[in-house]
Amino acid sequence: MTQQATPQAAAAAPQLSEFELSPELSQFRDQVRDYTEKHLGNAAAYDAEVKFPRDAVEAAAKLGLLRTTVAREYGGSAMGNLASCIMLEEINSVCVSTGVTISVHNSLVNSLLGKWCNEAQKKRWFPKMVTGEWLGAYCLSEAYSGSDAAALRCEAKLEGDHYVMNGAKLWITTGSEADLFVVFARTGPDRVKGISAFVVEKSWPGVGVGKKERKLGLRGSPTTEIVLENVKVPADCLIAEEGQGFTIALDTLDGGRLGIASQALGIARAAIDLIRDHLAARVDAKGRPNASQRDQWTLADLAADLDAYRFLTWRAAILRDNHVRCSTEAAMAKLSASRLANRAARAAVSILGIAGASGATTAERLLRDARITEIYEGATDIQRLVIARGLMA
């Protein structure tokens, strides 16, 4: 026999933990679950009353959940993307409005500040951001630029030691509740290289909250217009350098997409749990299991995909934690998880039937909440575009 395949390759059996959480992360997840049980009991009311979950977010802040993506030297816990994903799946399985508030704060705003801001900027804003004294919002979209982000029109003109900013940002999550805005604005004519990123504080003159959207779901999270009228933005609030805005936006979105993927996983899990409990409760006159086979098969398909797409999400989070570019992987996670969330929520309504649609269970809310995950932080077709380009490159 010639050239045998190396027997030493399998010297040690692979560690079981590769697809399981480490004890530390498992403990962290348990802490988050404890939080969800104690503090997210009003999820249905936030939805019905269109009420911001201020109390739930404050409780999360007290537990340190608003600082997971910030380095230790700035008061963060530096837990990184994987831990944040695990946390966000838990929170979103109970309350998406709390979930998206934290996702935007951590995965978009804090991540961006940590990666792109200078020392002075970090020291200026992180003390308020890690404690949740301030909440962050991410202002990229405009009325005429959604998926095509580079078409944005909001402009910032340098006048001496400050920029004068004018424009309006649309669909801003946490818009009416946030204190710190990362705003992308045009500092030059070039479609892509003319975009720069700024920090804008709510308290500055000319910063206003415009129209608040009335939405299918995610109703506890205020989605608003942010109007910028002759806002004087100090030059030291420019993030990185002029013209780097689009690069910053896209890079940040990779992390943001992991947050939304995790939100979707949470919604999917909640829907799958509803289906499982509903089917497990169906017994015949003699107490034997009696659930519809078709419904059981649906449950099996959804549960397999939940595990599979969670792995996609973790894979991308680990890459990002290791500072490896993960645009394709993050897009795969967001694409798959968001579609699963909607599929699972629709199935929950169908299988629970009247109880799924009547408002007697959370199924109908899950269906409404799930729908946004395919839209924001890069719609489904944008994820596909990113993936296809990555594959064909």
Partner: protein
């Protein structure tokens, strides 16, 4: 004569309905849905147009034109308000059951003086000693119906009974969809009821009411599907991204083409069911297929329409999120998809 072609009389009805919907219903539908306002005035409008007797024979005081114009008219209503369509369907179910049972309550239902609704056999309501046991959730017009026709069982056999709406305890529901149809949970325990028909007569009345619901829901869903496509097409024609209208993005065009294909296919099945019923043939299986296909098509079309709208689609102003919710709400009524498939299996595989 080919499919989807109406007689002059039928055309006149549909035109009248279309005008009524455009003038009266469409302008208010967003507000009414958001605030869960019951659309009694619109219901009365349908009554004034004399629509509630469409499927009732002339001999019994109806118009006797049958299911084809019923379907065509409901499509038009479904384009704007599935809630209003569902109210008509409930009224039509009650009328169909009352006609089959030979009840003299029929006239007031046809005329619309009485707002009626129907509780189907899927709720498992029991009738004994003149009173009901059970409850029924997500009943359209449940909060407001003057009369409720209930398909119950007495000692295991089908029985059709009538209940006064005022006698029933109701709970308003914050339901997924059909928000303007006054969805409610009806608590029927101990409620007095009048028997209208038993045995075969009850069974045939119940069958007629089922058929009416399946065909009616299918027609409503076709309307909702077309409306979703129309809204998305309009938006995609106006919205510029990457330097050209969304409509010129091949992936967007493709979604619209696919959505139109499935809605139109479901429409053929729906019209076929209506024709079979009008010819006096057994339309049961085709009507169930029509409901399954049309609901799938409506939800698919609305889902794609939301996606094409992007962030706009998630807001209430663009109507498509409402069609998405209403489609799922229509799905679970009348037994839901699982029950329809089980009934089809029993028929087709026996």
């Amino acid at each position: 004569m080919h499919n989807l072609q109406l007689t002059e009389d039928q055309d006149l009805i549909v035109d009248t309905v279309r005008k009524f919907v455009a003038d009266v219903v469409a302008p208010k539908v967003l507000d009414q849905d958001e605030h869960r306002q019951f659309v009694r005035a619109e219901f009365d409008g349908l009554a004034e147009l004399g629509l509630f007797g469409l499927c009732v024979s002339e001999a019994n005081g109806g118009v006797g034109m049958g299911y084809v114009p019923f379907v065509a008219a409901l499509e038009s209503i479904g384009e704007h308000s599935s809630s209003l369509a569902r109210l008509w369907i409930g009224q039509a179910q009650a009328a169909a059951a009352l006609e089959a049972a030979g009840s003299d309550e029929l006239e007031a239902v046809i005329g619309g003086a009485v707002l009626a609704t129907y509780v189907g056999p899927e709720y498992g309501v029991v009738f004994a000693d003149g009173k009901l046991q059970g409850s029924a959730d997500l009943v359209s017009a449940g909060m407001h119906a003057d009369k409720i026709v209930v398909a119950a069982t007495a000692a295991g056999a089908p029985v059709l009974v009538l209940v006064e709406g005022a006698a029933v305890e109701k709970r308003e529901r914050r339901a997924l969809g059909l928000a303007s149809a006054g969805p409610a949970q009806l608590l029927l325990d101990g409620v007095a009821a009048t028997s209208l028909a038993t045995g075969d007569a009850a069974a045939s009345a119940i069958a007629r009411a089922d058929l009416t619901a399946w065909i009616g829901c299918a027609a409503t869903a076709i309307g909702g599907g077309f409306a979703s496509i129309a809204a998305a097409k309009k938006h995609a024609g106006e919205r510029i991204a990457f330097g050209k209208p969304l409509l010129k993005q091949q992936a967007v065009a493709d979604k619209l083409v696919e959505a139109a294909r499935v809605v139109e296919a479901a429409r053929h099945v729906t019209w076929h069911a209506a024709r079979l019923a009008d010819l006096g043939n057994d339309a049961t299986a085709v009507a169930m297929q029509a409901k399954l296909s049309a609901i799938d098509a409506m939800v698919f079309a609305a889902d794609e329409a939301i996606q094409i709208h992007g962030g706009f689609g998630y807001t209430v102003e663009y109507h498509v999120e409402r069609h998405y919710r209403d489609g799922k709400a229509l799905e679970v009524l009348d037994g839901g998809s699982g029950a329809l498939r089980a009934l089809l299996a029993a028929r087709q595989l026996a």
